[in-house]
């Protein structure tokens, strides 16, 4: 009798919290004695990420004057000096294509095709025509993880226009974006709400936890079964939308299906401190709370990567066409409008440089996460992308890309590589860099784009 009562109490406690998910790191994933792989012989996980900013740069303040390993920091890149060994500048490549400046800049680049209703101004309807390449990569390397991909955002000074193509970099397909989480508390709960490092002889009643899992599974099973009779009555488009919803339910099931105890991978996979309440960056002025949010988000991401909860992420520092504001720089109007005005080039460069300071924080946080005797960045490949190269004309030519991390030792950091074909009629696409990075982390993506722009080769200059 008393046992039954206590069991009920535990169950209610778990159910009442709403979230009963137990995000488990990979099972049985103990490091081997050398610390360079798992005990059972598997390699350490490798990760692919995007770090996104917007509105282009001032080219002559961004581009380093020299190339190769002994390049000199340009004014805009100066904040990145302390982490110079951990990234490469890759210039001279062309981004996406299409009419619609910002939305096409991010979404056509990510999907390898134009966005919908390109050319017309009804931005609400603008969406991706297909999945973005981060999703393709996640299908190849992220399947067994708790979160196939993770989307995190920092600055919330949203762009002047609408539509999913404009707002997000990651897309599953038309009208199916992967929006970012902007509140660090929400991100923490999603990742770690019930994540408990094992305590010998402690923790919640194993039997009660098992019953809670069974109850939860019975609900999800009933929902899936109940939805079965809907599919046959729906038109194809609607059926796909329902199917995607049901797949998300199956994903939840898969995430807590493991019966084993949580196992810590390395000393870096530790439950981080939870933000106490809503913690996000106000749209009105990044400087109010943005820097702290940026750092917290980077830390949460880093631990999620260290615990192998995800292997593919998008970190939207700003949204495309961003209206980033900074009281520190006296930018109380907004970033985007200034980039349209050639007379404001100095101010724009100040903003770009300020954003690079925040990028440095991001890089440092990940660099300082130890893994296998080195840094987590050794096993990551993170691309810094922009929605255009120069705001005045929304150009996609000579994009300001950076490549962070060594991709498990396969990527060359610390150099400036400039495409010799920058002024050619058919310049090299940014997708060459993407392919090299994806392949370095084990995602053998065959190509991106189609027709004349189809890209199948990587960029050998940055490969080891």
């Amino acid at each position: 009798m008393s046992r039954s009562l206590s069991r009920r109490r535990v169950l209610r406690g778990v159910m009442a919290g709403g979230a009963v998910s137990i995000a488990l790191p990979r099972l049985g994933a103990m490091l081997n004695l050398n610390g360079d792989g798992y005990a059972h012989g598997a390699a350490l996980p490798r990760r692919f990420g995007l770090w996104t900013t917007a509105n282009g740069v001032i080219p002559d303040k961004w581009l380093p004057k020299d190339t190769g390993p002994n390049w000199t920091l340009s004014p805009a890149l100066t904040p990145l000096g302390p982490v110079k060994d951990w990234f490469s500048v890759v210039s001279g490549l062309t981004g996406g294509f299409g009419f619609r400046p910002h939305a096409a800049g991010n979404t056509s680049f990510m999907t390898g095709q134009t966005i919908t209703a390109d050319g017309a101004s009804n931005d609400d309807a603008k969406t991706a025509r297909g999945p973005s390449f981060d999703q393709t990569i996640a299908n190849l390397i992220g399947k067994g993880t708790a979160f196939r991909t993770l989307e995190i955002g920092v600055d919330q000074a949203f762009p002047p226009e609408r539509g999913t193509a404009f707002h997000w970099w990651s897309h599953n397909g038309p009208d199916s974006p992967n929006p970012c989480i902007y509140d660090a508390k929400v991100l923490f709960d999603r990742l770690f709400a019930n994540f408990k490092p094992p305590v010998p002889g402690g923790g919640i009643d194993a039997n009660a936890a098992l019953v809670a899992r069974k109850l939860r599974k019975s609900v999800l099973d009933a929902v899936l079964e109940d939805a079965g009779d809907l599919r046959k009555t729906l038109a194809a488009e609607d059926r796909l939308r329902l199917e995607s919803h049901l797949q998300s339910i199956r994903d939840i099931e898969a995430r807590f299906a493991g019966d084993g105890e949580p196992v810590v991978i390395s000393e870096s996979c530790k439950l981080p401190k939870a933000p106490e309440s809503k913690f996000d960056s106000p749209a009105s002025d990044y400087e109010i709370r943005g820097p702290a949010v940026n750092k917290t988000m980077a830390q949460l991401l880093g631990i999620a990567l260290a615990c192998d909860l995800t292997r593919v992420f998008t970190f939207q520092f700003t949204q495309p066409g961003s209206r980033f504001r900074s009281s520190k720089l006296g930018v109380t109007d907004e970033f985007h409008i200034r980039t349209h005005n050639p007379a404001q080039a100095e101010s724009v460069n100040n903003i770009v440089t300020r954003i690079n300071e925040e990028l440095r924080v991001f890089i440092e946080v990940l660099r300082d996460i130890p893994e296998a005797g080195g840094s987590l960045l050794q096993n990551a490949a993170i691309m810094v992308v922009n929605d255009c190269s120069y705001g005045v004309d929304h150009s996609q030519k000579d994009m300001p890309y950076l490549m962070i991390g060594r991709g498990g030792g396969k990527l060359r950091t610390g150099i400036h590589h400039r495409s010799p074909m920058v002024n050619a009629i058919s310049p090299e696409r940014g997708w060459k860099l993407v392919l090299s990075m994806a392949r370095a982390v084990g995602a053998d993506v065959p190509s991106i784009g189609s027709g004349a722009s189809m890209t199948t080769d990587g960029l050998s200059a940055i490969e080891m």
């Binding site: 039954s4 009920r8 169950l11 209610r12 159910m15 009442a16 709403g18 979230a19 009963v20 998910s21 294509f97 009419f99 619609r100 400046p101 050319g119 017309a120 101004s121 009804n122 609400d124 309807a125 969406t127 609408r162 539509g163 999913t164 599953n172 009208d175 199916s176 992967n178 999603r190 019953v211 109850l215 019975s218 609900v219 999800l220 009933a222 929902v223 079964e225 809907l230 729906l234 038109a235 609607d238 059926r239 939308r241 329902l242 995607s244 919803h245 998300s248 339910i249 994903d251 939840i252 109007d333 907004e334 409008i337 349209h340 005005n341 050639p342 007379a343 005045v392 004309d393 929304h394």
Partner: protein, 566 residues
């Protein structure tokens, strides 16, 4: 007629091709289209058994609508409150997804993300635990006589609760499934209340609750899919009150009352008189006219003033829809507005008082209706200056439903700087238009915007800019010949007589009420449908309630395009 008006697929990627079409159509303003309205030739074309008493008697194509329509975030919250009690604690409302400008369109086209589905699951189990884990209230909530729910009570409760959540009676296998789940959970946990709680958690995260399934049944005679009584009840309730059908509406559906025009109108009228209808209307206006741009912009105005600006427009819109004997045209042409002390001082109006009251705009400023409000004038400006381009684009897109092409990549979109000879924004734009690449689109967009140039970037009145007098004349006709105006009042008079103005508002209401997906329509049918509704709206002299009663009783509301014709 406006051949290009709604022909989004006819829109050329290059400005010129669009403009050629519009220049031809733009001249057609005085001609009143009479063939769409008021005819009595279609009384026998009653595929749904719904029209007849309606003023919308012309047979119009069946609209393409989503068969799977996700509850909008607002509807989801409202529905949870209807089911679990108005005091139930809910998380912060998620932002409505924007597609086609309206949450209703996003609901019919977008896909729930993994995060959304996780949220549905967590909230469903959390809320189920709150209402059925509470020993002092659960018995009353479930309506059980015994302190532990027995099988009979569980079944009765799940049947009633399920019917309200799914907006229709559960089928026998459905009810069996949820009863079985409750039994399984009871056995697993040793707690009968946990059994019921588990079944409620399942109902609250079932796609049958989270989505509206509006398929209809194919009707061979009309070639349309005809919605059944419960699908009609859902449509009425979600459209007019933004929430689940109430018990009276479900009972009307069960009796078959919603299969005829009179029954539909009777229920629609009842719902329209509820406070929820006003909330729905305010949301519709906010979305249709993009008032949230006020929150997104860089306006040099305090947050409190921006809130007042928005409220001014919403009150005005509420009054032109709900007050007796009003027409929505007043929304565009009225010389009066609702102001609070902050707005009084903003407009330079005398008087004090607290809260909002109706007041006349200052005569000399020529402010008129929505176009005279600080909200419109601010949300179409940048922080530093006005944008006749953005204001004109708003008129083209949001008032007339015309499409404006986007600037191409590689085009320099910055305006030339001011100089001793180029002092006003208008003059800067005129220089910009000397580039033919820019002129094609700007000749179309900018002129309506010039009408408002005597209002600065936060809508304050001015007569000069950098010392130069400000002109407010222009032509609505992109060729610069027809439809001359000087100032906002003359432009507003021109606009309310455009066929496009009626059709555009009618399209917005069609989207809000049915989730209308014009991208899934044949272009000719789309135009026939939207122009026909526009004519009907005009026929009612833009009286919103009368038009909506016509709409809900028509085939447009209770049938949908059959899937085969998609």
């Amino acid at each position: 007629m406006f051949v290009q008006l709604f022909g989004k697929r006819a829109l050329g990627a290059v400005c010129m091709s669009t403009l050629l079409g519009l220049a031809g159509g733009g001249a057609c303003t005085g001609g009143q289209d009479t063939n769409g309205a008021g005819g009595d030739d279609a009384a026998d074309n009653d595929a749904a058994g719904a029209s007849g008493a309606s003023g919308l008697s012309k047979v119009l194509p069946a609209p393409a609508t989503p068969g799977l329509w996700r509850l909008t975030p607002r509807q989801y919250h409202n529905a949870l409150r209807s089911l679990l009690g108005s005091d139930v604690a809910l998380p912060e409302l998620k932002k409505e997804q924007s597609a086609g400008g309206l949450a209703a369109i996003a609901a019919g086209t977008t896909t729930a993300t993994g995060q959304d589905v996780e949220g549905y699951e967590a909230l469903a189990s959390g809320l189920a635990s709150k209402v059925l884990g509470n020993a002092s209230t659960r018995q009353a909530f479930a309506g059980c006589k015994t302190s532990e729910p027995d099988e009979a009570c569980s079944k009765a409760f799940l049947g009633t609760f399920g019917k309200r959540a799914f907006r229709r009676p559960l089928s026998a296998p459905e009810l069996e499934r949820f009863v079985k789940l409750a039994n399984t959970a009871r056995e697993l946990s040793g707690d009968a209340w946990m059994g019921l709680q588990t079944a409620v958690a399942a109902i609250l995260q079932s796609p049958k609750f989270l989505y509206r399934f509006e398929q209809g049944t194919p009707d061979a005679k009309s070639g349309r899919n005809v919605l059944d009584a419960f699908e009609r009840a859902s449509r009425l309730a979600f459209f007019i009150t933004d929430t689940l059908p109430d018990d009276e509406l479900l009972a009307a559906a069960e009796k078959g009352d919603l299969m005829n025009a009179a029954g539909l109108q009777q229920q629609a009228k009842r719902l329209w008189n509820q406070n929820d209808a006003r909330k729905m209307w305010r949301s519709f206006i906010e979305e249709n006219y993009r008032l949230d741009d006020l929150d997104r912009g860089a306006a040099p105005a305090s947050a409190a003033l921006l809130t007042s600006m928005k409220e001014e427009v919403l009150r005005s819109a509420e009054s032109v829809a709900f007050d007796a004997n009003t027409s929505f045209l007043d929304f565009f042409t009225r010389r009066q507005t609702f102001v609070d002390p902050a707005l009084r001082s903003h407009y330079g109006l005398p008087g004090v008082g607290s809260g909002f009251a109706l007041a006349s705009f200052p005569d000399e400023q020529q402010r008129v209706g929505f176009f005279g409000t600080a909200a419109f004038l601010t949300m179409t400006s940048t922080a530093l200056h006005t944008s006749p381009t953005a204001r004109g684009k708003f008129v083209r897109e949001r008032i007339l439903c015309e499409e404006v092409p986007a600037p191409m990549a590689g085009v320099n979109t910055s305006l030339p700087p001011t100089s001793p000879t180029v002092r006003t924004t208008r003059e800067r734009l005129e220089l910009h238009r000397q580039n033919p690449e820019c002129a094609a689109c700007h000749d179309f967009m900018d002129p309506p915007g010039f009408a408002f140039e005597r209002f600065d970037q936060v809508g304050k009145y001015r007569t000069t800019e950098n010392g130069a007098d400000i002109r407010t004349d222009g032509h609505l006709d992109p060729a610069g010949k027809e439809d001359a105006f000087d100032g906002p009042q003359q432009l507003a008079e021109l606009l309310i007589n455009q066929t496009g103005t009626a059709a555009c508002l009618a399209r917005g209401l069609l989207r809000q009420s049915t989730g209308y997906l014009h991208a899934r329509m044949d272009e000719d049918k789309d135009m026939a449908l939207v122009d026909g509704l526009g004519a009907a709206l005009k026929d009612r002299n833009f009286a919103i309630e009368s038009f909506l009663m016509d709409l809900v009783a028509s085939d447009v509301f209770v049938t949908r395009q059959s899937e085969e014709t998609l």
